[in-house]
């Protein structure tokens, strides 16, 4: 049985759902950011799989852009996290509900 693009897309979808579960269910802000990385990575996998199936390298370029955005996002997110921790002494997102009405 040959490995087709659908195999990669199913894997990508499952990884996306796992990451979404982590973003929704976890209370630790660091692990929420890691789950976000997991979701971005699953999107990258879909990009590269489509790129291979269509024989077009545009997907690779998009994947490089996606990695750049992810790196910038992680840098800003972790800086905010350290700042929040030094002010509030916690990164539990159940405690950090200052903006909740």
């Amino acid at each position: 049985m040959n490995v087709s693009i659908e195999h990669y897309l199913v894997l990508s979808a499952i990884l996306l759902v796992i990451g979404a579960y982590g973003v929704i269910a976890r209370k630790n802000l660091i692990i929420v950011l890691m789950s976000l990385e997991l979701m971005l990575n699953s999107a990258n996998l879909a990009f590269v799989a489509f790129s291979r199936a269509l024989g077009d390298m545009t997907g690779h370029v998009f994947m490089i852009m996606s990695i750049t955005v992810a790196a910038a996002e992680v840098a800003v997110g972790l800086a905010l996290l350290v700042s929040i921790y030094s002010n509030r002494k916690t990164i539990d997102i159940d405690v950090l509900k200052l903006l909740k009405g």
């Binding site: 490995v3 087709s4 659908e6 199913v10 499952i14 979404a20 660091i30 700042s83 990164i91």
Partner: protein
């Protein structure tokens, strides 16, 4: 051979992803994320995306994960900060249904007809996924987005420095 490699590394990627969202310790989660990212890099090689696979390992599994690990160890969280509150049963069932929805969607629609990889043979894609091929695409058709990426990184650097300075005051 390719099929075996796909299933082995797909299983590793899924196991790593599940460990990221279930482990209580952020260090364990970060190392599980490295497993997932590395397995994905192997899948990129199977998809003939060699340059992107190297970038994945260098930038994602290298630089970004070191940033995560540095932050986790820098904060030095107390054990109660690592606690993982389990959700109620209804929430778990709903997430399970979401997973089944995604898998069922692709299983019913995707496997019937589609773009099979065997349609395009390797030989007719000379230079696919190499540094030269990706670089040519990046610096001709997508030169403007590439330059705009540098502005994004500049904004991120300025933002991080601004946040760090604010904390010092």
């Amino acid at each position: 051979m390719e099929t075996v490699a796909f299933y082995v590394f797909a299983a590793l990627a899924l196991a790593g992803g599940l460990m990221v969202v279930t482990f209580e310790n952020p260090v364990s989660s970060a190392l599980s994320l490295v497993l997932t990212l590395f397995s994905t890099a192997v899948l990129f090689v199977l998809l003939l995306a060699h340059f992107v696979a190297v970038i994945q390992i260098l930038v994602y599994a290298g630089a970004i994960m070191i940033l995560f690990l540095f932050t986790v160890m820098f904060l030095n969280l107390k054990p109660e900060g690592l606690k993982f509150e389990s959700q109620n049963l209804l929430f778990k069932v709903s997430m399970l249904l979401a997973v089944l929805l995604f898998v069922g969607y692709f299983a019913s629609l995707g496997f019937k007809k589609g773009l099979f990889l065997s349609n395009i043979s390797v030989s007719e894609m000379e230079g696919f996924g190499t540094v030269q091929g990706v670089g040519t695409t990046l610096f001709t058709d997508y030169l403007l987005p590439f330059e705009l990426t540098s502005i994004l990184i500049l904004v991120a650097i300025i933002g991080v420095v601004a946040i760090a300075k604010k904390r010092a005051n």
